[in-house]
Symmetry: C2
C-alpha cells in the first residue's frame, strides 16, 4: 500500500507555516550575526525540504522506523505504538516482539497510545517509555487487543486520517472521536488532543507499557501529582539496558478534575498507607507497575494539550527542560520551530534530483540519519553516567544510543562531513563513557547510561580514528586514542584474550569467531591510523601488526574466511552460505569474507588477484541464495538481498565499492544504482532491512552523492555512481562542495569521466579534504560502461 | 543473664585511649578558641562518661536497641544482626520479625553479619542495609540457620567474647576464629577483622539481607568493583519506606585477589551479557538480589580493614564522605575520635548518682537519646528529598528518621535543653520535608526521604511549637508555623476532614478515633501557643478552639474518653480496659483518657475534680490488668506496666506528673522513683518496652533530673522527684543549670522543699527560662510525703 505523498500534507496545513519558519530562520541567523558570507549564502538558499520527509518510510516490515514527532537528534521521540507485545508468551520468547522495535507496524489497525522514547531502525529495542492515551467514556485501564479493541483503551485508526511529517504527527482516534497531534522539542514532547464533548474525558498514563517488555522489565515506577496541572515521576527498567531510569514532568493545559491509579502491582506497599484511599486523588503513587489516569470535562472540539519533558537526571531536571524549551502552550509554534530545525539540518545538502521520488528518499534518509545518537543531558548539561552518578557535560553536548556496529560504517563518516560538531561531541560522549566505565572500555552498543554489549567489535575506535584522521577533533584526540588502545586490550572482552595471543579468535573458545577476528583487525588498523596522525609510532606499529590478523582466518583452499580452532586447524563441515554455527554473525562467509575494508589490495591479492576477485564479486550479486539460507539472514526482508549480496544488513555495506580496487570499477556503478532503487523506496515497506539508526540511510546519502567511505579511519572515499543531477553540500565551515552530474538519467548509470575542480581524476577516489575545502566534483554519465576510465 | 559491666571493658582496653581523647577534646576546643568562660569551664570538668554507656541495655526482649557502633546522631549504625527473619513465612506474617527491629536479640547464639543501618528502639523497622560477614574456608553465600549455623556463613558467638561500647563493638566469630571490631564516624562504618592464616579468607557482602525483609523488598541492587580496593553500589528497597535508596562505597585495606557474585535473582539480565562470565571477576553486578564475595589470603593474626561509607545521594557522595571522614586506615584513631564525640555529648549532663548503676542507666539513656534522628546528608550538604530530587541543605544539617508520635513527648523537649542547635536543624529538616511534600504536610513518621505514615497525629507541630515557645528558633519560625497550620488542615489525612467538621473523629468513619481526636486537640493547642508567641492572633484563636475538641469524646457517664459515632452517639459495648476496637491505639481508655496534657485543670474538672481525679490516678497504678488485656498492650513486656499504668508505651508518659494539678503532688514522687527503678535496669532486658528512638530514655533523663515537660508547647516543666545527688546541665549557651538534691537516698523519695536560686517554690513547676538562664534548683528530700508542700 502506498502512503499519501507527504506534499499533500503540506498543501493542506503547512505551506504558510513553513514559509514563515524559513523567514524566521533567516531572521534568527541574522540576529546572531553569522560570521562568514558562505553561511549567509546558505540561508539565502534555504529551501523547504521538510516537505519531502516521509517518516512513514520503513514503518512496515523490517525497517523498524517510527512515524512520530521528534527534533533532530532529540531526546524525545513521541510516537504511536500500535502494539506493546510482551517479550514472553506463555513463558517463551514471543517472536512478534521483534516487529515492534520502534513500537509501530504499518499494517496494524489500532493504536495503543503515544510513548515518548523510541529507537529508530534498530535490530533490538528497549524504551517505549510513558505511554499516553486519551479516551472518552468508560475508563479502561488495560490496552485490550487488536482483534477486539473495545476490550481496552486502544483505538482503531486509519492511514487516511494519519499524517506524519518531520516533527509532527497526527491521527484520528476513531473509537473516541479524538484527534491526536504530536510535536516535540529536543527534550519535550507536546500533545494536542481535540476532544468531543464529554463529561468523562481521560488521559491515561501507562507506565507498564514499554517496548521489548519482559515480564519483570519494570523495576520501579513513581508518580507524584504535584498539583492539578503538573505530574512528575520516573520509570526504572531492567531491559536491554540493565539499570535504566527516565524521569518525567507532565503538564496539562487545563486542570484535572480527578485522577487516580489502578493497582496492577504484585508488590503492594506494606506500610501504613491503609490510612488513605490510595487509588483516587492520592498524589503519591509508586510500585513496580503503575497506571494512572487523569480526568477532565471537555466541550466539543476542545483542545487539551500536554507538555511531557524527560530527563536522565531528575524530575527537577525534567521540569527545567520543560520550562526552558516550551515556556508557553502554543502547539503550532513548537511544531514550526522544530520543523525549522529540521529544515536547517536538511539544507545541509541541497539536491537537484532525477525525479521527485528521489527527493522523498533522499530527505527521508537525511531525516533518518539525523535521528540519533540522541541528546542525553538536561538543558543545564547534567546527565546520568555509566556509574549512575550525575555528571556535568563540560563544553560538549552529551549523546547516547550508540548503535556502533552499524553506524561506524557510514553514519559517523557522514557526520564528519555534515555534522562535524555533533560528531566531535558524540566522541566526547564516548570518551566520557570510557572514563566512567569500570572496564575501561569505550561504548560497544550503549544507551541511557548502560552498555548493552550488543554485537561485536569495538567500533568506537573507528569513529574516533575517522574523526582524528579527517582532522575533526573537537575533542581531546590523545585521550580518545588512549581510550581506544585501552578498549582494544581488555582481555575478558569477547575473545580478545585469544585474539591478542593467537592473532585470531578460536571458534571453539568464542563463537562468531571469524566475524570478530575480521572486525577486530579492522578496528586495530583504525587505531593505527589515528596513532600515525598523532605521531604515536609505538601504537601505530603495534596496531598495524594486529591489523593483519584477518589473514589468520583466511582459508586458501576454500577461498573464504573460515573459523579456526584453538589448535590452529580450520573448523570442519564449513558452509560459506550458512551463517549459523559457521563462525559468523549476521552475515555468511560469502559476505563476511570480503570484510577487510582497510586492506582491499592485500585482500584481493590473497583471494586470487583482481580478475578472480572481480568475478567473485559478480557471483555474489548474481547467485541464488536458497530460502533455507535466507532464513538465517537476520533483520532483513527478502527485498533486502540481491543474489547473495545482503544489503539489508551491515557487513556488506562497503562490498559493492570493492570493484574500485579491481580493474573493473565500472561494475560497481550499475549495481549501486540498482541498490539505491531496489532497497530504498518511498513507501512504508520501502526499506530492505532495519534502518539501524541511520546507517542504511547514510549509505543511501553517500551513494546518491557519488562517493562512499569504504574504510572509516582513512580519509579516502571510493567513487560510485551519483544518483541525482546535482547536489550542494553546505559545510559547517561555510564552504560548499558541489557535485554536478552531467548527462544524468535513469539509464545513464555509468560514469564516463570525473573532474575534481576541473581536473580529471585518474583514480576512483577523492579525499576528505577535497570535500571540506569546498569545490566541485563533475561527473559525466553514460548508458555504457567506460571500461578504461581510471585505468588510463 | 547479666551482661558484663561495661567498666571492665575499659579497664582492659580503653583507659588510656579515653584519657587521651579527653585531653584531645580540650586541646581541640582550645584551638577553636571557644568564646565564653562557661564553655571552657565545661571542658575543665570534662569527664570520661563513655565508660558508663552500655549499648547492650535494651537488646533483649522488647527494647529494640542495637549494640553496634555509631557516632552521635550518626547516619551509619554498624551493628551485628543475629537474625534476618523474613516478614513472610509460608506466605503469612512471621511474628518473629518483630523481635528483630534492630537486628539483634540478646538471647541468640549466632551472628549473621554486620549491617550498616539500624533504627534504635523502634516499634517497626526497615534498614539493615549492606550486611558484611567475614569468613574463612569453603565459601558459603547463604546465612544458614541458628539451629544449624554450619549450613551457612553465619557464626556462633558468645557474650563473654563480645564487648559493646559507645562507638565500638567487638566479638569473636567462633566458627571462623575471626575477631570482628567495628567503629564508625557519622557517615562511615569501619570494620577491623583479625583473620587466622588462610588461603581462603572471604568478605561477604549480602545485599539481599535486611531488616523487616518482605519477599520483594529489594527493588534493585547495584555493585561496581571500581578497582581491587574499592567497591561502590546501591540498594533500593520497597519496605517500610516505599521508595528508598542507599548508596555505598566500600574500601578494603588490602587488594582483593578474586571476587564474584552468586546469582540469587529471578530477574536475570536478558541482554548480551552472555559474552561474559558474570559470576567471577566481572566488575559490574546488578539485579534484584545481589550477593557478592571478595577474597584474600591472610596470614595469622592479619587485620583486614574495611571502610564502608553510605550516602543518600550517590556513590560519588559516598566516596567523598569516606575521604573526608576517614582519610586514613587507623582504626584506633577513628574509635578514639568517635568516643571523644560521645564524651562531649554525654558531658552535657554531669551527674553525681546515688549509686553506680544509675550512672550506667543515666549515660546509656543519654546515649540512646542521642542516637537519632540521624544525620541525612553528605558532607557537602546534599541529600535526597521526599520528591526524590537531590537538595542542598543550606546552613543546616539535614536529619531523618522522625519517630514523632514517640519523640515529641520528651525527646525533642530534651533537645531544647541539651541540643538546641540540633533540634533547630531537625525542625529545618521537617520544614524541608514539608516543602517537598506533595501533600503539604510535615513529617508524621518519616525516614530516608519517605513518609511511612506510622501512628497518628501530626506531632511535628508539637516539636515546632515547643521550640518556638521556648525561644529556640534557629529556623524560620513563621514558615514553620504556616507549615504546621497547613499540615493540620489536610482533609484526607486520617479522619481530619471529620475532625474539622464535627470536632471529633467518628469511630464508624475512621478507627482509633478517640486517640486521634485527643492527639489532634493537643497538637492544635500547640499550634495555638506558637501562633500566640509569634503574634498571629487569628491562628491562635482558630486553633485554641480546636484544642477544646477533647471534650467531644468525653463520656460523662462512664468517666472515660469513649468513641463517638458519626451520628453523635457514643459507641456501645465499651470496655475501657481493652484497646482493640475501642477507638484507641496502643493504649486503652484508662490510659488514653488522661491524654489532655495541654489542659490538665479543665480535664480534672471535667472528670470530677481534684480529689476524685487523684484517686482515679491511684487506681490506675494499683489496679490489676488481666492477661487478656495485657496481650493487647503493644510493644512492651510485662515489666513495662505498673498496675494498669503502661510505661512501656508512650500515651502514659505524662500521666504520673498529673498529680501536680491535684492537691496531692506528693503522690507522683514515690511513683516516679518506682518507675525509674522498675522500668530502667542496667541489663540487656532492662527496658520495659521499645526505647522508641530515645523517648523512653528521655523520660528517664528528665525524671532523674527532677522535672518533666508534660505539655510540649508550654514552657513549663512539672517537678517530680529527682533520682540523683546532684547534676550539672552544661548548656549550649555556656550557662550551667545545677540540680542539687539534699538528704537524698533510695528511701528519701519524697520532696520536702524546693528552692530555685535560693527562693522556695510555691508550685511544683519551673519554667524553661529558669533552666536556660542557668541557676540552681535545690531539692530537699524526705522519706515521708510533705502533703502541704506546694499547697501552702
Amino acid at each position: 500500500m502506498m502512503i499519501k505523498p507527504p506534499k499533500f500534507i503540506y498543501e493542506c496545513t503547512l505551506k504558510f507555516a513553513v514559509f514563515f519558519s524559513a523567514l524566521m530562520f533567516v531572521t534568527c541567523n541574522q540576529k546572531k550575526g553569522v560570521a562568514n558570507e558562505s553561511a549567509s549564502n546558505h540561508t539565502d538558499d534555504f529551501q523547504n525540504l521538510v516537505q519531502y520527509v516521509d517518516p512513514m518510510i520503513g514503518t512496515a516490515k523490517m525497517g523498524h522506523t517510527y512515524p512520530g514527532a521528534t527534533a533532530p537528534f532529540g531526546s524525545v521521540q513521541l510516537s504511536p505504538d500500535t502494539d506493546t507485545i510482551p517479550y514472553e508468551l506463555d513463558g517463551h520468547y514471543n517472536p512478534d516482539v521483534y516487529k515492534y522495535c520502534a513500537g509501530y507496524q504499518y499494517d496494524d489497525t489500532t493504536i495503543v497510545g503515544f510513548s515518548h522514547t523510541h529507537f529508530s531502525g534498530t535490530g533490538h529495542s528497549d524504551l517505549g517509555d510513558f505511554l499516553i492515551m486519551p479516551t472518552v467514556g468508560e475508563l479502561q485501564m488495560n490496552p485490550g487487543t487488536e482483534s477486539n479493541p473495545d476490550t481496552g483503551y486502544r483505538s482503531r485508526f486509519s492511514h487516511k486520517n494519519e499524517h506524519a511529517e518531520a516533527g509532527y504527527y497526527s491521527v484520528q482516534l476513531e473509537d473516541y472521536n479524538i484527534k491526536a497531534e504530536l510535536t516535540a522539542t529536543t527534550r519535550v514532547g507536546m500533545h494536542q488532543y481535540t476532544f468531543p464533548k464529554s463529561e468523562a474525558s481521560h488521559i491515561i498514563l501507562d507506565l507498564t507499557s514499554g517496548i521489548y517488555n519482559y515480564k519483570e522489565k519494570n523495576v520501579w515506577t513513581f508518580v507524584r501529582v504535584e498539583n492539578d496541572t503538573l505530574v512528575t515521576g520516573y520509570r526504572q527498567t531492567n531491559g536491554w539496558a540493565r539499570t535504566r531510569k527516565v524521569y518525567f514532568a507532565m503538564a496539562f493545559s487545563k486542570p484535572i478534575t480527578k485522577y487516580g491509579q489502578e493497582n496492577y502491582d504484585n508488590n503492594v506497599y506494606k506500610g501504613f498507607w491503609r490510612k488513605f484511599d490510595q487509588n483516587t486523588n492520592f498524589p503519591e503513587m509508586a510500585g513496580e507497575n503503575l497506571k494512572a489516569y487523569f480526568d477532565f470535562n471537555t466541550s466539543e472540539g476542545e483542545k487539551v494539550k500536554i507538555k511531557f519533558a524527560i530527563s536522565p537526571v531528575s524530575t527537577k531536571g525534567a521540569i527545567n527542560n520543560m520550562n526552558v524549551e516550551i515556556p508557553h502552550w502554543d502547539f503550532e509554534k513548537v511544531k514550526e520551530e522544530t520543523q525549522n530545525s529540521w529544515n536547517s539540518e536538511l539544507n545541509k545538502v541541497q539536491l537537484d534530483p532525477i525525479n521527485q521520488d528521489e527527493m522523498v528518499n533522499f530527505y527521508t534518509a537525511m531525516y533518518h540519519a539525523f535521528l540519533g545518537p540522541t541528546v542525553y543531558m538536561d538543558v543545564d548539561g547534567k546527565y546520568r553516567g555509566l556509574d549512575m552518578n550525575i555528571h556535568q557535560a563540560e563544553n560538549f553536548t552529551n549523546y547516547t544510543s550508540f548503535s556502533l556496529w552499524d553506524t561506524y560504517r557510514a553514519l559517523h563518516p557522514l557526520f564528519n562531513v555534515l555534522q562535524p560538531k555533533r560528531n566531535s561531541d558524540m566522541i566526547n560522549s564516548m570518551v566520557s563513557h570510557y572514563n566512567q566505565s569500570v572496564h575501561g572500555m569505550l561504548p560497544v552498543w550503549s544507551h541511557y547510561a548502560n552498555e548493552n554489549w550488543c554485537m561485536i567489535g569495538y567500533h568506537s575506535v573507528s569513529v574516533i580514528a575517522d574523526a582524528i584522521v579527517k582532522g575533526n577533533t573537537g575533542f581531546d584526540a590523545e585521550a580518545a586514542l588512549m581510550a581506544s588502545v585501552h578498549t582494544a586490550k581488555v582481555p575478558y572482552y569477547d575473545g580478545l584474550e585469544y585474539y591478542m595471543e593467537k592473532g585470531y579468535v578460536p571458534e571453539d573458545k568464542n563463537g562468531s569467531s571469524v566475524s570478530k577476528t575480521l572486525e577486530y583487525a579492522y578496528d586495530d588498523w583504525a587505531i593505527a591510523q589515528a596513532a600515525k596522525k598523532l605521531g604515536k609510532d609505538d601504537i601505530y606499529n603495534e596496531f598495524s601488526e594486529r591489523a593483519e590478523n584477518y589473514k589468520n582466518v583466511y582459508d586458501e583452499k576454500s577461498g573464504f574466511m573460515r573459523p579456526k580452532l584453538d589448535d590452529g586447524s580450520f573448523k570442519k563441515d564449513f558452509d560459506p552460505l550458512n551463517t549459523h554455527g559457521q563462525g559468523f554473525i549476521e552475515g555468511n562467509s560469502w559476505n563476511y569474507s570480503l570484510y577487510v575494508p582497510h586492506a582491499p589490495n592485500k585482500m584481493i591479492e590473497m583471494m586470487g588477484g583482481k580478475e578472480v576477485f572481480s568475478q567473485h564479486l559478480d557471483s555474489l550479486f548474481s547467485m541464488d541464495l536458497p530460502d533455507k539460507y535466507f532464513e538465517n539472514t537476520e533483520d532483513i526482508s527478502r527485498e533486502g538481498i540481491i543474489g547473495n549480496y545482503v544489503h539489508g544488513n551491515e557487513p556488506s555495506h562497503h562490498v559493492v565499492y570493492l570493484y574500485n580496487w579491481t580493474d573493473t570499477p565500472w561494475k560497481s556503478q550499475d549495481k549501486i544504482r540498482m541498490i539505491l532503487k531496489a532497497m530504498y523506496q518511498p513507501k512504508a515497506d520501502g526499506l530492505g532491512g532495519n534502518d539501524d539508526f541511520g546507517q542504511m540511510s547514510a549509505w543511501y546519502i553517500f551513494s546518491t552523492l557519488g562517493f562512499y567511505p569504504v574504510a572509516p579511519g582513512s580519509d579516502v572515499y571510493a567513487l560510485g555512481s551519483p544518483a541525482m543531477k546535482s547536489a550542494t553540500v553546505n559545510l559547517e565551515n561555510g564552504n560548499k562542495f558541489k557535485v554536478v552530474v552531467n548527462n544524468q538519467s535513469e539509464e545513464n548509470v555509468f560514469v564516463d569521466k570525473v573532474l575534481l575542480n576541473g581536473k580529471e581524476l585518474k583514480e576512483p577516489f577523492i579525499k576528505h579534504d577535497d570535500i571540506i575545502k569546498g569545490g566541485e566534483l563533475n561527473f559525466y554519465m553514460s548508458n555504457r560502461p567506460n571500461k578504461i576510465l581510471y585505468n588510463k
